[in-house]
Symmetry: C2
Subunit: 478 residues, 2 copies
C-alpha cells in the first residue's frame, strides 16, 4: 500500500536519530545540499516555516519599539579588527573577498559573520545627543561562517537569521533590553513553536565574542541533546569605546553608549523537527504551520464529494485557517502519508457517508486522534488547532522535565550521561578548568546555562569540591 511506501523512507527515531533527522528533512522537502560546499537551499516547505517565524517574531520585536534596517554584507578588515575580543572570536571563520570585478582590493573585505562592527561604525557617525538614544535596530539577513561540517538547519556556512542591535544611554537600560529580548524569544518559542525551554546566563567560556554577558534559551531535543535556540548579549561599553560612540548627556557631558545584540536563526527549525517530529515525519505546531489543515476527499469520484470537500475548504479559509485541499489522483492512503510527512497539524477526511451524516472526520497529526465535527460547526476546528498547540507544548514539557537529572557526585553525573538522555543540574565553582574537565569526563557535556533561579544542590563544585558559586544546567549539545 502506498502509505507504507512513503513512510518506509524514514528511519525510526529510536534506531538512528541522526539518520531520522536527515530523512525527515529530505522527505518533507525542507532543505537541500548544493554544489556550493557548506551552503544550503531552503526549499519552499522549509522557507515557508521561516516566513511564519519571521512574521510572528517581527511583530513581537516591533511591539517593543524595534525598527528594521539593512546594513551591508561586507565588512572591511580594519573595521572587523577594532574590537579585540570580537575579532579573535570571528576572524578564523570568515570568508574574504579579495577581488572586485577585475580589480585586486587594497583592503580585503569579509562577508559578515555578524554585524556589530558595522552598526557601531554607523552609530559613531550618527549619534550626537541623548535625544538620539536609544537606537533599536534589527535586520533579517544571512551571515557566513566558514564551518567544516554541515547539517541542515543546525550548522551551515551560510545561514539565515535576524540580528538585533541596540544602543542606550545607560548600562541599566541596555541590560533591561538584553533581558527583554530574551523574554521575547522565550515567549515566542514556547507560545508559537510549542517548545519548552530552560533559560539563563552563559558561563564566561560560552559567552559571545566581545560580550560582557550572554543570555540563552536552550531546548531539549528528543535525543536529550541541547540546542541553543536564541541568545541575547549585553556588551556594556566595550564596542562603544573601541568605536568611540559617544553622546552629550542632559548635563552636556560626553558619555559612551551601552550596547546589546540578540539573534535567532534557522537552527530553530531544527529544534521544531527534533522536539515534535515522529517516525512518520514532521509534526508542526499549528501557529507556525504554513498549512494547518489538509482537506482530503474520500471516494472523490462519487457524486457531490469533491463539491462538499471544496465547500469545507472554502469555509475553513474564511475562518482564517490556512487550508489546502488535495484533489490529485493519488490514493487517500498516499495523501494521508504525505500530509503526515509534511507535519500538517490536522487533516480533514470527508466521504459519502460523512456527507450523509452531515459531518467530517478530523485527524490530529500529533496524536492521531479522530474527531467527528458537524459540518454546521466548522468553527470548532480553529479551537481544535489551539488544543493541538497546547497539547504539543505540554507533551514536550513533560519530556523536558522528566529528562532533567540532579547530581552532586561526579560519578553519578558520568553515569547519567552514559545511561540516560537529557540534562544534568550540578553545582560549579566558577572555574573554566572545571567546565573543561566535566566536558571531558562526561564525553562532551557542556554548561548550557546558569538559570535565573538557582537551586542549591550542595555546597561544593561537583568536579573540584571547592566552594560552589552556581548551579549549572549541563548537556551534550548540537
Amino acid at each position: 500500500m502506498s502509505k507504507d511506501k512513503l513512510v518506509k523512507d524514514i528511519t525510526s527515531r529510536e534506531v538512528d536519530f541522526a539518520q531520522w533527522y536527515t530523512d525527515v528533512v529530505k522527505e518533507a522537502k525542507l532543505c537541500d545540499y548544493t554544489s556550493v560546499k557548506g551552503c544550503l537551499i531552503y526549499q519552499p516547505n522549509g522557507y515557508a516555516i521561516w516566513e511564519n517565524i519571521q512574521r510572528d517574531l517581527d511583530n513581537r520585536f516591533k511591539e517593543t519599539g524595534v525598527e528594521n534596517v539593512s546594513f551591508p554584507l561586507l565588512i572591511p578588515e580594519s573595521l572587523l579588527q577594532k574590537e579585540k575580543d570580537h575579532v579573535e572570536g570571528f576572524a578564523p571563520e570568515v570568508a574574504w573577498v579579495t577581488k572586485g570585478g577585475s580589480e585586486i582590493l587594497e583592503e580585503k573585505l569579509c562577508i559578515r559573520p555578524t554585524s556589530e562592527t558595522l552598526f557601531c561604525d554607523q552609530w559613531a557617525k550618527e549619534v550626537k545627543s541623548y535625544r538620539d538614544l536609544p537606537k533599536l535596530y534589527n535586520q533579517w539577513n544571512s551571515v557566513l561562517r566558514w564551518e567544516k561540517t554541515t547539517r541542515p538547519f543546525l550548522r551551515s556556512r551560510e545561514f539565515l537569521w535576524q540580528e538585533g542591535h541596540t544602543i542606550h544611554a545607560s548600562a541599566k537600560e541596555a541590560e533591561e533590553r538584553t533581558l527583554m529580548m530574551l523574554k521575547v524569544y522565550y515567549d515566542f518559542v514556547t507560545e508559537d513553536l510549542a517548545i519548552p525551554l530552560i533559560q539563563g546566563r552563559k558561563t564566561d567560556s560560552e559567552r559571545f565574542a566581545g560580550a560582557k554577558d550572554t543570555y540563552t534559551i536552550e531546548a531539549m531535543m528528543h535525543d536529550g541533546k541541547a540546542l541553543q535556540s536564541g541568545t541575547s548579549h549585553f556588551f556594556g561599553d566595550g564596542f562603544a569605546k573601541a568605536f568611540d560612540i559617544k553622546f552629550l548627556n542632559k548635563n552636556n557631558e560626553y558619555e559612551v553608549v551601552n550596547q546589546t545584540s540578540w539573534g535567532l536563526s534557522t537552527r530553530i527549525i531544527g529544534a521544531i523537527i527534533m522536539v515534535h517530529g515522529d517516525d512518520s515525519g514532521l509534526v508542526l505546531p499549528p501557529r507556525i504551520a504554513p498549512t494547518q489543515v489538509m482537506v482530503i476527499p474520500i471516494a472523490a469520484h462519487k457524486e457531490g464529494v469533491t463539491e462538499k470537500a471544496m465547500e469545507v475548504y472554502e469555509n475553513l479559509k474564511k475562518l482564517g485557517v490556512r487550508t489546502k485541499i488535495d484533489l490529485s489522483d493519488k490514493t487517500p492512503g498516499w495523501k494521508f502519508s504525505n500530509q503526515e510527512i509534511l507535519g500538517i497539524p490536522a487533516r480533514v477526511e470527508i466521504g459519502p457517508k460523512d456527507i450523509e451524516n452531515n459531518k467530517l472526520v478530523l485527524v490530529r497529526r500529533d496524536n492521531r486522534e479522530k474527531i467527528e465535527v458537524s459540518l454546521d460547526e466548522l468553527s470548532r476546528i480553529p479551537e481544535i488547532l489551539e488544543e493541538i498547540q497546547r497539547d504539543m507544548y505540554n507533551k514536550a514539557k513533560v519530556f523536558l522535565d522528566s529528562h532533567i537529572y540532579e547530581a552532586t557526585e561526579m560519578e553519578d553525573m558520568i553515569n547519567i550521561f552514559k545511561d540516560k538522555k537529557g540534562f544534568v543540574k550540578a553545582m560549579w565553582c566558577g572555574e573554566e578548568n572545571c567546565e573543561d574537565e566535566i566536558k571531558y569526563a562526561t564525553g562532551g557535556a557542556s554548561s548550557r546555562c546558569i538559570p535565573f533561579n538557582e537551586e542549591k544542590l550542595s555546597d561544593k563544585c561537583i568536579f573540584c569540591g571547592k566552594e560552589a558559586k552556581h548551579m549549572v544546567y549541563w548537556g551534550k549539545s548540537y
Copy 2:
C-alpha cells in the same frame, strides 16, 4: 521659524534635480553611505517602505502560485561560467571570495550578481518528470555588482531585490509566465505606487545577459529621465541546455525545460522619490506609506487637547489606518515640516477650536488641500487616503503623457532632447548600430522599449532611413 529651518536643507527640484534627490534621501533619513565603498545602509524610514513593497508584491506573487525559497549567496566560478552569454555579461562586475577562514580556496566563489546559475544547478538534480513542472520560485535577498559609482537606491554595489525564477514544460507556458509577471509588476507599480508606466520589449542590445527576450516597465522621473523599474526575462532553453535540465514528458521522451526570471529592486524607491517628491521632501503614496496619517495636536497644553488627539489616533488605528501621533515638545510648525519631509500622505491638526466644533483639519501632503472632517465621521479618512492615491497617479500620468513626443526626423529628435525633458517615440530599423548613433547624437538617449501596441509614425528608421521595423520609446535614463 523652525519650519523654514527644516525645509531650507532641501535644494529646489528646478535648481538642481540631482542635489534635490540627495537632499530628500538625507533629510527623510531613508538611506546612508557607509565605510564600505559602494554599499549603503537602508535606515528605518527607507527600509519600512521596502517592507511594504515586499508585503504587497509578495502577496501578488503568491496569488499566481509562486513559492519563496532561499538559495546560497556564493556561486562557484565553474557554475557561473556554464552559460556563455550570461558569464560574459556578469563576470566583469562580480566580487570574488578567494579565502575561507585560513584556507585559500581551490575554486574561487563569486558573490551572486543574480542567481540563474544556482537555480539551474538545483533543477538539473531535482526535475525528472513533467509532473515536477512548473517550478515557480522567488527569493528576496541582496545581490552584488561591482559598480564604480553609487547613488542611493539607484546604483550601489550591493542592493536589495527579489529574483523570481521559473521553469516550464513548454516555451509557450514560459512566455506566458514572463508576461504574467510583467503584468504583476505593472499592476503593482501603477496601483500601489501610483506611478504610471510605459511597458514593452527591450531591443537586443538592452536584453539581460543570456535572455531571449527581456520585457520592461519604465517610469518617467520628474526630470524627464527614464527609470527601468522592473524586468521579466524569457530564456527559452538556453540555460536548460547548458545545465542539462531535462524531464520525461507524457510520451516518456526527454525534453529540456523553458525558463524565465524576473526582478524588481530597491531602485523602485528612487522612482517613488523622483516621481512624487516636491521641494518640501518626500511624498509617499498612501498604499505604500509606512505611516499614512500623522496626528498633530495644536496648543497641546490646553485642557483636553492631547486627550482628544489621542482618541483620534486610537480610532484611526482601529479603522486600519497606519497612524502616528507627534506628542513631542517641538512646535507645530516643526512638526508640520517634519511630516512633509517624511512624505506622510496626510496630517491631522486638532486644536481647542476644532474640538469645540467637533472636527479636525486634515491636510493632504500631495496638494496641501485642507479638509475639515467631523469627529463623528473619521471613516472618511481612509476614503480620502484612497483619493490621494488616485490623484497622485493621475497627476503623474498627466506629466508622463505630456512629456512624450513624436519625431520622424533626426533633427527634431535631437532638438527635443536638447530643449525638453521626456521621452521620444520614433521608428527604428532594428539595427544596433542605429541605436548607438541615436544615443550619440542625442547626448545619451537609449531605446527604452518597443511597446506592445506599436504605432506607425513613418515607414523609415529615424536614423538611417531604411525600412522601419519597430516603433521605439527613447529616453535618457538612470
